[in-house]
């Protein structure tokens, strides 16, 4: 009777472990950031990319139904890849495209903008990366879609490819 109890317990235990491991191993262990969420955009102070003047986010995120905040740097390879998509997106006049230059050398960043074009209506500076972390960014490039109520409604980690641009256009319709 006792042996049967132990055997039964062991069988149930191993089945339980098997189910847990089987389910867990089938899932990818690469962390995927949450993309669909609605969080309030923080207010932050920064500097203007061209003039160097102090500027508040409250003065930048005004006068549009949708804002796209793109975090970039001249030293970031994927940022170069996505730049043509941003140039294309900047043609859409219903949105305000705002750039956040992340931990960059200002000279190199200006060279980058001169060479590849400026898709942004305003570029803000994030010298030490604190603003990006406060926004909830993982790395660059990263793009946030923000609505009129200043809520972040979508976040894209990594480059904006054609599919993502299509999705953004659908959101903005």
């Amino acid at each position: 009777m006792k042996n049967k109890f132990i055997l039964g317990f062991l069988i149930i235990f191993f089945i339980f472990c098997f189910i847990i491991l089987f389910k867990s191993l089938r899932n990818s262990n690469i962390y995927v950031p949450e993309q669909n969420f609605e969080k309030k955009l923080i207010n932050f102070n920064s500097e203007d990319f061209f003039s160097g003047k102090k500027i508040s986010s409250e003065d930048v995120f005004v006068g549009s139904d949708y804002y796209i905040l793109n975090i970039w740097a001249s030293w970031c390879g994927p940022c170069r890849t996505e730049h043509p998509q941003l140039m294309e997106l900047s043609k859409n006049l219903s949105i305000k495209l705002i750039g956040l230059n992340y931990k960059d050398d200002l000279k190199n960043a200006k060279k980058f903008i001169n060479n590849f074009g400026n898709p942004y209506s305003t570029i803000l500076l994030d010298h030490d990366g604190i603003i990006s972390i406060e926004l909830g960014a993982y790395g660059i490039p990263e793009t946030f879609i923000i609505n009129k109520q200043k809520n972040i409604i979508r976040k894209y980690t990594g480059i904006l490819n054609r599919e993502r641009i299509k999705e953004i256009n659908l959101i903005l319709k």
Binding site: F9, I20, Y31, P33, E34, K39, K103, D128, G129, I130, S132, I133, E134, L135, G136, Y138, G139
Partner: protein, 120 residues
Amino acid sequence: MKLFKFVIILLFIFNIANSYESKDELTNKISKNIRCLICQGQSVYDSNSEFALSMKLLIKKKIDEGYKEEEIYDFLKKKYGEWITYDPEFNKKTFVLWVLPILLFLAGGAIIFRRLIVKK
């Protein structure tokens, strides 16, 4: 009187040094409990990635602003989700993690109790 002034100055300097040390210690303590989300199995304290360096600066800034340790964890959880801390909360995704050791402990205890005490 001179001795009194000297003692006051000494206490003041010691107090400033102590408060700075404790702020650094708190920054290190928090960054050890925060996961570097873009690294493989490293805490923010261990990593030198851009993400981790910015995170350490943010933690320092929050401490300077008067945030308490728990408030900093809560702030980061709101931004990055619960995954950012090394301390998993009890919920439907983590209940096995919390309950299984207790169950195993109770089962083991019951076996030992039956073998040693009941036999006697």
